[in-house]
Symmetry: D2
Subunit: 365 residues, 4 copies
């Protein structure tokens, strides 16, 4: 099964590379990928890709369905469902907005659980990926720390009382560098030991847009694939490798320094900034005010910068840390605390429907 | 196998209860149990129990071997080996002493590993039991955080280079209340998944003697049994339940409030204080100065206090928290940091013999 | 002024010692002191001491006014006002109850501020006493970390906009052992530098009753006196030493191990348990069930235990840590987080009246 | 005195602005400023500026003396002494190297203290600037947490025993946003209250070169000036404002995202990379391989990018966080822990000469 998975992984990687070569963009977020294409190719008609948008008071929700291999090839993402909740308000440290977004997260999670055909009483295991000790990578473990777990309580209570209650358990397996074990191995072992019927992974992602940091939440049913996230979790964690449905809840908490530098070079290289910057928070006119020409000798045409030249310049600016350099807002600690409450609140209310939602929020730190 | 284990556990429990009834003492430390008996019954000749003592500059090492069921019955502990390192110097926040004790820990660990007949290249999994978020219970997870894990590195290196190198991995599974999963289940799942050949559990213990806090280290090959430690880990973790050798490294970090109160009542009840307090740090004469008579009306004999009366008085003093009240030194945070370095340093050097020991210590925070 | 203060302090100490000798009780809480007397001497008629009780849904509020030296002598507390909010519900980790108690704290704080005759625009400095690094002593610094400070903002805004807004500032000076400076010196220096017109100290206290832990809040206008709290803050911090009104907000977070042991010995010594245990959480009948006689040989009378014997026994049980041993609930981290929110929420709403209170609470972690 | 200080500050600001306009570089590090000039203007002969270099096994030490206003104008730094210790080895988490660098720090500190003409027994106050809660800004408070303070002990000991011992005290005043008080006000108040005879500020700096992060230590006697550091400390802290010698120990822990982006644009704009990147860790040839021409249409000359255009592009890439975006290595937590040990170890041994240095290091976490 491992081999099988890897080969599929390889195919997916090929798609991503193709996408990267075609659009010069690498992203963990399906709606980012979709936006890129639309901007380049105009009308959002992609074979095998369905996109649905919803606006709420505090958020913009984008649901992308990749129907098949064709769509996967188009968009560089595995077939499956992707819901992205963009909520700039999460940067305002306002508990009311947090509650509202928490409710949206709960709604999406419930939808995905129904999709997976799980019964109300089948046990779910939540896994907090990432590293306790690195603030921007600690989302998963921190969410797990705020979950209301019930599996151990239900096991003690008489069957007749368990009706309609879902056993929830949660672990934070740590990262390869600290455990010496692939996260997926610990998950695999635990899942088979406790016979979980579905898995939900919570993870910090790397975004390519600063505007997404700690304010965008992506939920998908395609699992976790290599290289995602800030930490080190290389083997895939998905239905193929685990044999049960796998939901992934991800929040961008960092941008790689190399990403923003290469964005800057693209702007300079003459790319339409709207292709680089897709964050609603930036008033479009800023973009239109922007005239790449003005940077360069009027007598010449800007020519895009080759990847090779870019990499040379990146190493100029980012050595000796290069790849390990991450960009975060100064107030990252507070932003992480808030988005942790939102995700944990959303999961708790999705899991324990008969419990009053506002009550649930009370029990979050 | 579970049933099998439980029945054995039950037998062991019976022994402990018998021991408790006979001596009014419940302890996680084999040498404490042994001392109690010796004090009551004089000559330390116990059938089925072998005791060996060693004095070093900074520590007193006591090695107890429980040979068989007879010995187990006598001392209320499972058959196996128990090494206890008592090092009051660990309370002095002195790095030299910490290094020295770390060396003693390494020596004992190596001995236990040899006993278990493990080859130099067979993989060991270290498990940090306990709760990250409760200082006195965080010993295990904190030690794991300072271990040099090598399994993932060795898997990447060519076989010829791995000669004589032992793959080490480490996890901190969390506590039942936060995960909803018995710690032993996560361990069981992981062990079978990564095919570990031996397990080492690091755990915070409850001691019955204040003098032991953060200054005594017990290593045994009988695993972790129900109710041990500060946290909540009820199923046994031992060779029976896991099928591989299980070493347990434990350090007392708390005393239950009920323990010290009941000790006080025992003193008053006329028990010879030496039976209650066995900590080397207390000059014996203090004890001899002590005259229980003086407390009571000279015309009467002190009569020991019944468990029932004791419990009444305990609830008077300890409600409403009762069982959950723990006693720690004010400086517990610093003491925990030091003993964490000692255990982690000891394990690292026991695992990676060809590495210079002082070097290893350098890599500890 | 310092000398002046010290001599007064000495007088106060004398009162406390007298009180201790007379009733064998040392407490930081005025209502505890009052209860002791009432229990011993019946009718709560104390010259110079006025007591007012109020019951709310989640709390019992006791307001003690020590009118003069006579009252001070009676009750062993400096002349002034003491409000004690007892709220066992704070142990339930329920945000609604926390909000409610936060409101009560705000109400008391406002009353004390009015008492002090401060105008709406006069600046207040909040000081978080205690040690960041020791969980049970970190109340003050943690509360300060959640305060909405405004002084720097108001200084930047035009005078006409500042009308009715109170400049709030806050510091956590640390403890003597870590700074080498008496906390009171740092406060004195800062107060005179920024010309604060009132001071509010937040501090963790040692209680003598387990039932009070993290569930009782005392507010007084007599400042902080030597030896209070868990940490080390020896010089007085009060109107005498600072020249401005000083409010003290205190919460018991630990009981000294020696306290509960000596309580136990008192029970055994034949004292009426009601004299030892005054926590509403313990159903009285438990106390009546209790029969000290049953502990001892029926032919004798129990005789109270002398302080001297008690100390001998304490050292038997508590060496080598003795004084530094503290008793806390296992879940202290969570309890501290909750009571921190309550105090910070209460102060924020007392300071910023025109801001909606529920909003304020939203901004707490 | 404040006015006086501000006017001087203004002059200094003018110098910095001039320097910025002339070289397009803003830096907290004197040797960076010097290098820039040398690279542009060749021979390192600057009137009023003396530079001395020293190489050790693990570090390169550069001592810059700005003799007068002329030199200050040349280099855009206040007159005074600046020692910069560059030690890339600090990125290796190796305790031996840390000890070595700690020794170098101690040596420099002693030199500065002698310069200031302080007697062996005059008291020094150490101030840890920055924010406990933001990892990269917590250097100051963390160093203070590891200092051996002695002031309170010496005050208790008889004068004859204090001979040759220096009273050390230390505080972490917090940041304006959390206290509402200018850090300098708290320092001013405390200094005058305890009559400190010299001040040492420890602070996290923003560097403009990634290669400096957590591996460069600057010590100067010109104090802390506006805008330095990650946190918010706007008023000057120097001999002018405090009336006593002020040493500043700074370590770059972040690079502003805008800095590396603008560096990238400069490379592209055709600037000689050696002018941008001066980190020894980057093999020069990398730079020579680099050919800005290759990026652009061969028929044109690259033209440097105007500040205005740069800012447009920066906002394109960095909105909505812009200024608050910081760049750190992923492993920042571990790097901070190590450099904290180095600074604290260095200060402790500089302060307590008669104490064995290796001993001192033992007492660090």
């Amino acid at each position: 099964m491992r081999a099988q998975n890897i080969s599929n992984q390889e195919i997916l990687d090929v798609y991503q590379v193709e996408f990267l070569q075609k659009y010069g963009v690498r992203t963990d977020l399906a709606d980012e990928a979709h936006q890129v294409i639309v901007e380049r190719e105009g009308p959002p008609e992609l074979p095998g890709v369905i996109v649905e948008n919803e606006e709420t008071e505090n958020a913009a929700i984008c649901r992308v369905t990749v129907e098949n291999e064709v769509g996967a090839r188009m968009i560089g993402k595995a077939p499956g469902h992707y819901s992205t909740i963009e909520a700039p308000g999460l940067r305002q440290h306002n508990r009311e907005i947090q509650k509202d977004i928490g409710g949206l997260v709960a709604k999406e999670i419930k939808w995905f659980i129904e999709q997976s055909g799980l019964s109300k009483e089948e046990p779910i295991l939540v896994v907090g990926l990432g590293n306790w000790h690195a603030t921007p990578d600690a989302l998963g473990p921190r969410v797990v720390g705020e979950l209301m777990v019930t599996r151990h309580l239900l096991e003690l209570s008489p069957p007749e009382l368990r009706t309609g209650l879902r056993p929830i358990s949660a672990i934070s397996p740590g990262v390869l560098g600290l455990t010496g074990i692939e996260t997926s191995e610990i998950i695999l072992g635990t899942v088979s030991q406790i016979e979980a019927k579905a898995l939900i992974c919570v993870d910090a992602l790397a975004s390519r847009s600063v505007g997404r940091l700690c304010s965008t939440i992506q939920i998908s049913d395609t699992g976790i694939n290599p290289g995602s996230g800030v930490g080190n979790k290389r083997m895939s964690i998905n239905q193929e490798t685990l044999g049960i449905p796998v939901l992934a809840v991800g929040v961008p908490t960092v941008v790689h320094a190399s990403t923003i530098v290469s964005d800057a070079l693209d702007v300079l290289g003459g790319k339409d900034p709207t292709q680089i910057h897709r964050d609603k928070d930036v008033p479009r006119k800023t973009s239109f005010n922007m005239d790449p020409q003005s940077i360069l000798n009027p007598t010449m045409q800007p020519s895009p910068i080759s990847e090779q030249d870019k990499n040379r310049m990146l190493s100029e600016v980012l050595e000796p840390y290069m790849g390990s350099l991450i960009v975060t807002p100064k107030e990252i600690d507070e932003l992480m605390a808030d988005v942790t409450d939102v995700i944990a609140g959303g999961l708790n209310s999705a899991f324990h429907e008969n419990v009053d939602y506002s009550e649930i929020f009370q029990y979050l730190s």
